[in-house]
């Protein structure tokens, strides 16, 4: 069917593979729930739907091995949900592996490569065995021999009426190819019904006006015919299959047993009951031949997207959310526009700052409302880009399962807050660090069952993965109840690597943070679990790249907790505008701890260190911004200017000396290097209300620059 396509299917294929990836991930997650025994019947249905959707699309693109495997898998799942097969740990295991093999087939189809002929054959055989003697789908080229062969051949005559909805062509389905495929099953005669054809001048090239009646004499059974139409049947076309000489009604229960759910129903059958039995939502069909139903013409991607949105919700709260697929570019454009709006709003606010409520009550009120709406609009637009961290967390159960087996450890994964949402870019950036941290927890944190028993802990370790929103950021925690950080070893290693001077006194927290230092790895030998060359410093860097920070808390013998804190979005942030000489800079609000004007007693100048502030018994390095940036005309005396205490990602505090604070403001982040190049100490730029550019300070980089500037003095 695919060899002689006259048009390009690649676009639909891309969408299909995208969906497959989502469906596979969803199936995996749901299967994991079933495996733990916390799943419900609805979960089984969800897995079934996933596999079914993958199969449906695969059929349309003629990925025959994929269709074949998916069909067997699906049949097994159907037996499970109908209770013919009991759920057991063996079955659950089989489902996990079945899903893996399905993924292999999908990826092979995507890469257009062939898998070994017996790939997944054992799983296939086991899945088929679950379903007992049920005949397996008739694939044209069965990929494996494990499936029971089709039943002995008896030629039957089918009458098939194929009536596409006017919109079928728009969904990328070509009737010619389906008819050709149908013809390949046996001897066929086709009569086209051209009654629906309009005058040539009124014809829309994207409409299908024809319908066909085919008489097919074939040795294949009904499923083979169903398969030809499975991607369109009931959805964008009406397909009526009748076996000559057999009562229509007799076919339906047989079909129902197959659990196919595609809605290839005889026209005279009791539609509602058949549909109700299926309970699947796929069997939309036209009540009468010849009536086009616009509702049926819903584009496939939307239907699938809605389906994917429904399925996870089905697990817990049965909220039905409709969703659409939108190009990310469009959203980015929207985000940019909102950015411009935020700037314009700030500009208006600044222009009106001279007016009072008394003199211009309506103007002031209007501006306040504008500011309110702008912020709301911005938050909502950002929410479009937001995705639940579930996408990120769903890989974890698998990782923990596989790794604990490999390492001979017992670990249980507890997740919470999976529905917490965060920007898509942040999610993408987090995937690797999170995987690494989980690996780390299992490899270095959790002890072997024997060690744990000896320490009086349960043999099974627990890894807790949690996400939550807190003060405009998202916090992700990876906590284990393992042995915690071995501070003595870490310190010894750091000294050995020259990261710390021998005899240097460090607090426990400082020692813990050493694991993030570049070039630090305590694993004595490189296992294939940890130490793949991705150290904790890379983890920290990845997180810092998206404006996040990571800290670790550890209790020896009781476990460690890694806390990642990330901004919810990368496009807009809250900043504090500060003045230094003639220049204005934006300090990210999240970095600011406090600001103060020190007294002469608080500010001291020390040899070697420069100026130091004493605040509530704590000594903080003072960094004059005008020195670091070489700005003229700034206030140089700390007691006359203002000191803003900022905290870097590493938790170190520095006092930045500025002239004054100009106010808090929401700023749109603009890249500096798109037209220029990165500048040290500056993370990005923004546009202020007056149209001028202000630079956003990179606090961590500044701290290092401050040290250099002092050294140069």
């Amino acid at each position: 069917m695919s060899d002689d396509q006259g048009y390009d299917l690649s676009q639909f294929k891309a969408t299909y593979f995208e969906e497959c990836a989502e469906l596979l991930a969803m199936a995996e997650e749901t299967i994991a729930r079933l495996q733990e025994g916390t799943g419900s019947d609805e979960d089984l249905n969800a897995v079934f739907r996933c596999v079914h959707s993958i199969k449906g699309g695969a059929g349309a693109f003629s990925f025959e091995e994929l269709v074949h495997f998916a069909h067997v898998f699906e049949t097994a799942l159907d037996h499970l949900r109908s209770g013919k097969v009991e759920m057991s740990s063996h079955v659950a295991d089989l489902m996990v592996r079945g899903n893996d093999i399905l993924g292999d087939f999908v990826r092979a189809a995507q890469a257009d490569t062939a898998l070994p002929a017996d790939h997944g054959a054992d799983i296939l055989a086991q899945l088929a065995a679950l379903t007992g003697a049920v005949p397996v789908v008739v694939a044209k080229k069965p990929a494996t021999a494990s499936a029971p062969p089709p039943l002995p051949t008896v030629e039957k005559t089918f009458s098939i009426r194929f009536h596409p909805s006017p919109d079928m062509l728009r969904t990328g389905n070509e009737p010619l190819l389906m008819l050709r495929e149908l013809g390949s099953l046996g001897r066929m005669s086709v009569i086209a019904d051209t009654n629906g054809l309009p005058a040539l001048t009124e014809m829309d090239a994207l409409h299908s006006y024809l319908s066909w009646t085919c008489t097919l004499i074939t040795s294949h059974d009904r499923t083979a015919i169903d398969e030809v139409f499975e991607f369109v049947a009931g959805d964008t076309a009406q397909v009526i299959v009748t076996e000559e000489g057999a009562a229509t009604a007799a076919i339906i229960p047989a079909h129902g047993e197959e659990g196919d759910g595609w809605g290839l129903f005889a026209p005279l059958a009791a539609d509602d009951t058949a549909k109700g039995e299926e309970g699947d939502g796929w069997g939309l069909f036209a009540p009468l031949p010849g009536t086009a139903q616009p509702a049926q013409a819903a584009p496939k991607p939307a239907a699938l997207a809605a389906n994917t949105a429904n399925a996870p919700a089905a697990g817990g709260n049965a909220v039905h959310t409709a969703s659409i697929r939108v190009d990310l570019d469009k959203i980015d454009r929207l985000v940019n526009m909102v950015g411009e709006l935020v700037i314009t709003q700030a500009m208006l606010g600044q222009q009106a700052s001279g007016f009072t409520v008394e003199s211009h009550p309506e103007l002031i009120q209007g501006l306040q409302e504008l500011s309110h709406h702008t912020r709301e609009l911005q938050e909502n637009v950002m929410a479009i880009r937001a995705q639940p961290v579930k996408a990120l967390f769903s890989k974890a159960p698998r990782l923990v399962r596989d790794l604990s087996t490999k390492l001979g450890k017992q670990a249980r994964l507890v997740m919470s807050g999976e529905n917490t949402e965060v920007d898509k870019t942040v999610i993408e950036q987090l995937s690797d660090p999170l995987t690494h941290l989980i690996r780390n927890a299992l490899d270095h944190g959790i002890e072997t069952p024997e060690e744990r028993m000896a320490m009086g802990k349960p043999a099974e370790g627990t890894i807790h993965l949690a996400a939550q929103h807190r003060s405009g950021r998202i916090f992700i925690e990876i906590q284990d109840d393992g042995r915690g950080i071995d501070r003595e070893r870490v310190l010894a290693k750091a000294v050995e690597k020259g990261l710390v001077e021998r005899g240097q006194q460090l607090t426990d927290e400082q020692i813990d943070m050493l694991i993030f230092a570049p070039g630090f790895s305590t694993a004595a030998e490189v296992s294939d679990v940890s130490g793949r060359g991705v150290g904790m410093d890379v983890v920290r860097k990845n997180i810092q790249d998206v404006g996040g920070r990571v800290v670790v808390q550890s209790t020896p013998g009781a476990g460690s907790r890694f806390i990642l804190s990330l901004p919810l979005t990368l496009a807009v942030m809250d900043g504090m505008l500060v003045q230094v000489g003639g220049q204005r800079y934006v300090l990210p609000l999240t970095n600011i701890v406090e600001s103060l004007r020190p007294t002469a007693q608080q500010a001291r100048s020390l040899v070697d260190v420069g100026e130091v502030l004493t605040i509530r018994g704590e000594y903080i390095n003072l960094m004059p911004l005008h020195v670091v940036f070489g700005i003229d005309g700034a206030i140089t005396d700390p007691t006359k200017g203002l000191v803003v205490i900022v905290e870097t990602e590493g938790g170190e505090r520095v006092g930045l000396l500025v002239d004054e604070l100009l106010g808090q403001q929401q700023v749109v982040i603009k890249s500096l290097d798109s037209n220029f190049r990165p500048v040290r100490g500056i993370s990005a730029a923004t546009i202020l209300g007056d149209g001028r550019v202000a630079l956003i300070l990179d606090v961590s980089a500044l701290r290092h620059m401050g040290a250099l500037a002092l050294a140069a003095q």
């Binding site: 940019n336 950015g339 411009e340 700037i343 220049q583 670091v628 940036f629 070489g630 700005i631 603009k670 890249s671 500096l672 798109s674 037209n675 220029f676 190049r677 990165p678 500048v679 040290r680 100490g681 500056i682 730029a685 546009i687 149209g691 001028r692 550019v693 202000a694 630079l695």
Partner: protein
């Protein structure tokens, strides 16, 4: 963006258009195809720890555009920018940058045959940025190769930034 075309590659008989501008007494030409717009000087935001001729960045309808002071780049000292000074916004290497000049002079159309090669000078370091010289109404106009100029610029800056 045709301005990178070396003189030798210009077809005989073909003509090219340049925008000419002045810096002090000198007149320079830039290929008209590279020019995105010409605007009056607006105050820029200085970038810390960058060379003097890097005059900072401005907001060009939402984009952050760096401004280079050509006089300063050609060792003629810093331009005392005023409202009468002009920023020529050009597109080089997929980047949009602005060059600060004194004034725009003319649009000149020259045929390839009229472009004279730049005499080899002993120790003038910026002759590599010039693709040729033309004489228009008795004035000498030096044709600039922006690609060359800003390629070196960005690479050199990247090196200093990394160091």
């Amino acid at each position: 963006m045709q301005n990178a075309t070396p003189v030798s590659e210009i077809q005989a008989g073909g003509t090219r258009q340049f925008i000419s501008f002045t810096i002090g007494e000198e007149e320079y030409g830039v290929d008209i195809m590279a020019i995105r717009e010409i605007k009056g000087w607006t105050a820029s935001t200085e970038l810390p720890n960058t060379p003097e001729y890097m005059r900072g960045v401005i907001n060009l309808r939402g984009a952050i555009v760096p401004i280079f002071d050509l006089r300063s780049r050609f060792s003629g000292g810093l331009t005392q920018a005023s409202a009468r000074h002009v920023i020529i916004v050009v597109s080089v290497h997929d980047r949009v940058i602005g060059i600060l000049v004194d004034a725009v002079a003319d649009i000149i159309t020259v045929s390839a045959a009229d472009i004279q090669p730049v005499p080899e000078l002993d120790h003038h370091d910026h002759s590599g940025f010039l693709t040729g010289l033309v004489t228009v109404d008795g004035r000498m106009v030096a044709l600039l190769d922006l690609h060359q100029l800003f390629d070196i610029e960005l690479v050199a800056d990247a090196i200093t930034a990394a160091a």
